[in-house]
């Protein structure tokens, strides 16, 4: 375990050093990832300002949803980038995965540490800014439990989306084309849960609550933190299953990954 950790640290360290080599380039990259969040949330905020509220949620309350997703998703993207279908699919196509297989280090660990983009810290930072904005606009009645629970909610989302990245990456063992559809769950799912679930049509809301447990990751915890009633009348514990839902999806993804590895046949390139 300690050996694995030091290998991971070295894999990441080398990438971080090389990315910091060109300071201007790095600064620009960070700036443009921050700008992405700024324009996306900015456009929504400017329009919401005219309309007042969306589905009964104020700007500050939506900022809570948005900020928390942004922080979690960007952190996940930084950690799990190697499993993202486009980059992992490329490794299979180019045959570099076979090189990794020859090394005496766990393949999963190598893929895990293969695409660490430090510039994504820019998006984490924007997420923090939006979340700060939320706290300023909609003050929360903090309790010790809330302070302890908040990072677990973020962890739940990191595990959930990380799991979907791993599933998408595993699918490229069989098909390289077509994995863009996994984006519906990753980018689509994260985009879906930055808004209150009440704005969606019933079939969509049910799908992302009971089939894909995305609503439990952010919407239900937010109801608890912001002291809002649940319009759909789920039991109170719905607000507290975020880490569990994320953990289960992640576990299933790891099992699927193992299965995929066992059946992997090189393209021979």
């Amino acid at each position: 375990m300690r050996h694995a950790w030091s290998t991971y640290r070295r894999l990441i360290g080398a990438q971080v050093r090389s990315q910091l080599q060109y300071r201007v380039s790095f600064a620009l990259d960070v700036l443009s990832t921050m700008m992405f969040t700024a324009t996306e949330f900015g456009a929504f905020a400017l329009v919401l300002n005219r309309f007042g509220s969306v589905g009964g949620w104020s700007l500050g309350e939506v900022a809570f949803l948005y900020g928390l997703v942004e922080i979690s998703f960007a952190s996940m993207d930084m950690l799990f980038g190697g499993f993202d279908a486009p980059s992992f699919g490329q490794q299979i196509r180019k045959g570099t995965l076979d090189q990794l297989l020859l090394r005496p280090v766990s393949l999963t660990l190598q893929v895990f540490g293969s695409d660490f983009a430090l510039r994504r810290l820019g998006r984490v930072a924007s997420g923090v800014v939006v979340f700060g904005f939320a706290l300023a606009l909609s003050p929360i009645d903090w309790t010790l439990f809330k302070v302890l629970y908040l990072p677990l909610v973020a962890l739940g989302m990191i595990l959930f989306f990380g799991g979907v990245f791993v599933i998408g990456g595993t699918l490229t063992f069989w098909t390289v084309e077509g994995t863009e559809a996994v984006n519906v769950l990753t980018y689509g799912g994260s985009n879906l849960i930055v808004y209150p679930m009440s704005i969606y049509e019933e079939w969509l809301r049910r799908l992302f609550t009971f089939v894909i447990p995305a609503a439990f990751l952010n919407y239900y915890p937010a109801l608890y933190f912001l002291d809002k009633p649940d319009p759909f009348g789920l039991p109170e514990f719905a607000s507290f299953v975020a880490p569990l839902a994320g953990g289960l999806v992640f576990l299933a993804a790891l099992l699927f990954w193992r299965f995929g590895l066992k059946h992997y046949q090189s393209t021979g390139t």
């Binding site: 700036l31 443009s32 324009t39 005219r50 969306v54 084309e177 863009e180 559809a181």
Partner: protein, 271 residues
């Protein structure tokens, strides 16, 4: 080398035709992309409808128009390469650009022809298909008279020229800077915001709408969308199309100018 006259319409059409065929080859990827595009359109429609609430219409856009807007913007992602386009930049960083410049055809024309092919494939495979799926799922607005369709076609064509001019210029940055990709990401993000891709420009505060008017971005996406929705009429319509044409001409001229500087630099370096 930059003798732009050395490209016949036949050659242009042939390059464009081959580009269409190349882009039609990735069908599975197109289907997967389509699924994603429709899903995001659905999310964006939900947000706009929730914002509209029980107001009948805001700034001339009612529920039907707003749903149609989300379909149109999603349908134009591939057509206009809204999320970014780095093809030219890649040939510069790989050094292939040197041999491309030696071709006996106009460099700008060569890329424009390829881009027209890419865009047409995108418009058919992604754009039209997406709108057809949208029509099945939602009650969307469809222009009925022939003149509206003619205006739409003209506006779409001009939008592509504006978009190409802008993307080509951004990519030329690669001749000067190893950080061109970062510059590109920055520029395309700004474009998404000011072209009305994220939210209808009409919903933005007055000052921001005015600021956007001084940029070519509304001419890329906002104008064809408003032409389709029929919210531009008479003089406003003519003015919008004229603005598009002016931006197209200005950007393409600027692109030629910057390109000739870029190639001179390449020669100096013995690239």
């Amino acid at each position: 080398m930059s003798s732009a006259s050395s490209m016949t319409p036949i050659l242009f059409a042939e390059i464009a035709r081959r580009s269409v065929r190349r882009h039609f080859a990735y069908r599975a990827a197109a289907v997967a992309g389509l699924v994603t595009n429709v899903f995001f359109g659905l999310l964006r429609a939900s947000v706009l409808l929730a914002l509209l609430g029980d107001r009948g219409s805001v700034d001339g856009l009612d529920a039907k128009a707003l749903v149609t807007y989300t379909g149109l913007t999603q349908a134009m992602i591939t057509y206009l390469s809204i999320f970014g386009w780095y093809d030219l930049m890649n040939t510069v960083s790989r050094g292939e650009v040197a041999s491309d410049l030696l071709r006996p055809v106009s460099f700008l024309g060569f890329w424009l022809a390829q881009d027209v092919g890419r865009a047409v494939a995108g418009l058919v495979l992604r754009g039209a298909t997406l709108m057809a799926i949208y029509a099945l799922l939602f009650d969307i607005f469809v222009p009925t008279d022939l003149r509206a369709w003619a205006a739409l076609l003209l506006s779409l064509g001009l939008a592509l020229l504006v978009s190409f001019g802008f993307r080509f210029l951004v990519n030329l940055a690669a001749f000067w800077s190893p950080d061109a990709r970062g510059i590109g990401r920055f520029a395309f993000t700004l474009g998404m915001f000011l072209s009305g891709f994220l939210m209808p420009l009409r919903f933005f505060p007055e000052w921001l709408q005015t600021a956007a008017k001084f940029t070519p971005f509304p001419s890329m996406l906002n104008t064809p969308v408003e032409v389709y929705l029929g919210v531009l009429k008479g003089r406003d319509l003519t003015l919008a199309l004229l603005t598009q044409a002016l931006w197209a001409a200005a950007l393409l001229l600027l692109a030629r100018l910057v390109l000739s500087r870029a190639t001179r630099k390449l020669v100096l370096q013995g690239g």
